[in-house]
């Protein structure tokens, strides 16, 4: 049996956690107090030791990312919490923000101190209006308790947080598009280099981290990096929120040690495939992650194992499909999504994804021919490795995996 490990989700269902007292009574803000007694650089070292990897999708080691921020401060520094949660199949950050907003705020404050930030921003998807309001209440509470604002806890550290709502653009989850959006512009990703740690928001050094990543920081600082690492499995550090949706008996967000087996997650955490049907396929890490067939799910859900298996842990959003599912239909929803969300800046993504969509739409209307699949593969190949940001790539890879692994279903459309 796999065992749930409630660390970030320990306050799920506990009301009133946006109040400082309630949060503090359960060990809250211990992490910040510890942190403010240390030098910023030491906190970065501790985060490095925790082996925490970013939970936003790419799995970049957090301590390492933080170490790119200039040591000598010549301009304001900023920390941004990425709460855009737009990856289809992902609904985990919302659980933290709804149930334990101060955990996130504490994490941001520690990050703000470690990175010598002047300000922090939470960029939350526009649809989460009520959650944004809750965060604002929690921020106000923290401010009143001198946990934000001037001279925090009398330690001479000034820091505050603003919440900004997005407005319906998945691409604004990409960190540089997010920065553009925060600057009040269209969410068009920037080219890298320069990386945000060098030139980010308002051209100043900026770190963007996911909600779940930042929520891990107080946990690390309550004890130390090593104990955080030990919460994971042998290869991977900490816990992970897995959001399981689709054809399962108990969909929801579950917190397990990082690296928990996918099959176990589906069967034990989510109660198995709905209505006793057979499993057909699983998308393991949000819609951008290449699809797995039923016989490929004996997989440790961490960053490296997923890459080895030709897919991605991504956001940990597991979408489960039973035997009745039409993969071409899923593929159609997938390409519709990516076409709708492409920012349109670069040729391969803008034109290529649309062309795939057009081809697939034709096939599904029975108007495809022997060239249709060839076209899809050809375009997917063109997109991969030529786009400005990873969105185009992700769309192409997701489609390519579906068509490759379930080719007969697509070929059947042409008959």
């Amino acid at each position: 049996m796999i065992e749930e490990k409630k660390v970030l989700t320990r306050h799920v269902g506990v009301p009133g956690m946006e109040k400082v007292d309630a949060y503090m009574n359960d060990g809250g803000y211990k992490g910040l107090k510890n942190a403010l007694d240390k030098k910023p650089q030491d906190i970065i070292e501790e985060v490095k030791k925790s082996f925490l990897r970013g939970r936003g999708g790419a799995g970049f080691p957090t301590g390492f990312k933080w170490s790119f921020i200039p040591k000598e401060k010549t301009k304001p520094h900023y920390i941004i919490c990425n709460a855009d949660e737009g990856e289809p199949g992902t609904f985990k950050d919302r659980v933290i923000m709804e149930n334990d907003p101060l955990l996130l705020i504490e994490g941001m404050t520690i990050a703000g101190y470690a990175l010598q930030c002047d300000m922090g921003f939470i960029y939350i998807r526009g649809e989460f209006r009520k959650i944004a309001e809750k965060l604002e209440t929690a921020i106000e509470n923290a401010r009143n308790a001198n946990l934000l604002g001037k001279n925090i806890l009398g330690k001479g550290f000034n820091f505050d947080i603003l919440v900004m709502r997005g407005a319906g653009a998945y691409i604004c989850g990409e960190e540089t598009a997010l920065i553009e959006s925060l600057e009040g512009k269209r969410g068009e990703p920037r080219m890298k280099p320069p990386f945000p740690a060098v030139e980010g928001l308002y051209k100043c050094p900026t770190i963007v981290n996911n909600v779940e990543t930042l929520a891990c920081i107080p946990i690390i600082m309550q004890s130390n990096g090593k104990s955080f690492k030990d919460m994971g499995t042998f290869q991977s550090a900490g816990t992970k929120l897995y959001g399981i949706s689709g054809h399962v008996n108990n969909p929801g967000v579950y917190e397990y040690p990082m690296g928990t087996n996918l099959k176990d997650l589906i069967e034990q955490a989510a109660g198995g495939v709905k209505d006793g049907k057979k499993l057909k396929a699983v998308i393991p890490g949000g819609l951008s992650a290449p699809i797995l067939k039923a016989d490929e799910i004996d997989l440790d859900m961490d960053f490296d194992a997923c890459i080895k298996a030709g897919t991605m842990l991504g956001s940990g959003g597991v979408i489960v499909m039973d035997e009745t599912t039409s993969i071409p239909e899923v593929a159609k929803s997938t390409i519709d999504f990516f076409v709708h969300e492409s920012c349109g800046q670069c040729t391969p993504c803008r034109e290529g994804l649309h062309k795939i969509q057009e081809t697939l739409t034709k096939m599904m209307a029975g108007e495809g021919d022997e060239n249709s699949l060839k076209t899809i593969f050809k375009i997917a190949k063109t997109i991969k490795g030529t786009t400005l940001c990873p969105l185009g790539d992700a769309g192409a890879m997701a489609l390519e995996a579906m068509v490759t692994k379930f080719r007969d279903e697509f070929e059947a459309l042409n008959k």
């Binding site: 304001p76 949660e85 737009g86 990856e87 289809p88 199949g89 992902t90 609904f91 919302r94 300000m119 998807r125 526009g126 649809e127 989460f128 209006r129 009520k130 603003l162 900004m164 709502r165 997005g166 407005a167 319906g168 653009a169 998945y170 959006s181 925060l182 600057e183 009040g184 512009k185 269209r186 969410g187 308002y202 959001g243 399981i244 949706s245 689709g246 054809h247 969909p251 929801g252 967000v253 998308i283 819609l287 959003g317 979408i319 499909m321 599912t325 239909e329 899923v330 929803s333 997938t334 519709d336 999504f337 709708h340 969300e341 920012c343």
Partner: protein, 169 residues
């Protein structure tokens, strides 16, 4: 095929951003290191006020943020949440993404279209309801999901949709 209401209605009458809202916009602008960052928050406020983003408001906002109407419009037309045309009193947005469609969002949409007599992208004649299909709403664990104005409705069934519609005056 567009499933959300598109372009600006021609020659819409002048909408003036109320002073109260304008001073809120200016207050937000002053909180950010750069004024232009108030763009999205301001557009949300404008939409709260009018239900959409009227062209005249675009011009006023451009002045308030020291930018051009064209730049504001470039932003408005980028983000799907900003309505470029008036919508009904209740804007129903049903998720059409994978997790929701696996659990029958199509039936929910069909139910809504027959019940309201409109297709996605349309508004009922009495201007009460607008129906849109949207991408993932970030609530896949409780699929199928829809949003009406700012409220999420989850674990939908046709029966539940009926109940919800009945509560909307």
């Amino acid at each position: 095929m567009s499933t959300t209401p598109t372009p600006f209605a021609a020659n819409a009458t002048d909408y003036k951003i109320p002073d109260k809202v304008m001073s809120k916009i200016n207050e937000i602008a002053s909180q950010y290191p750069e004024k232009n960052s108030a763009m999205l928050p301001a557009l949300h406020l404008i939409q709260d006020e009018f239900g959409w983003i009227p062209p005249s408001a675009v011009r006023q906002l451009a002045d308030a943020l020291d930018t051009t109407p064209n730049k504001v419009y470039a932003v408005v037309s980028f983000y799907t949440m900003f309505n470029q045309a008036p919508v009904g009193k209740y804007h129903i947005q049903v998720c059409r993404n994978v997790s929701c469609s696996l659990l029958g969002s199509k039936h929910i949409v069909d139910h809504l279209t027959s019940k309201l007599g409109i297709q996605p992208g349309q508004t009922t004649e009495n201007k009460k309801f607008t129906l849109s299909l949207v991408e993932c709403l970030g609530a896949c664990g409780t699929a199928p999901v829809m949003m009406i104005n700012d409220t999420y409705y989850e674990n939908l069934t046709s029966g539940k949709v009926d109940e919800i519609l009945n509560t909307l005056a």
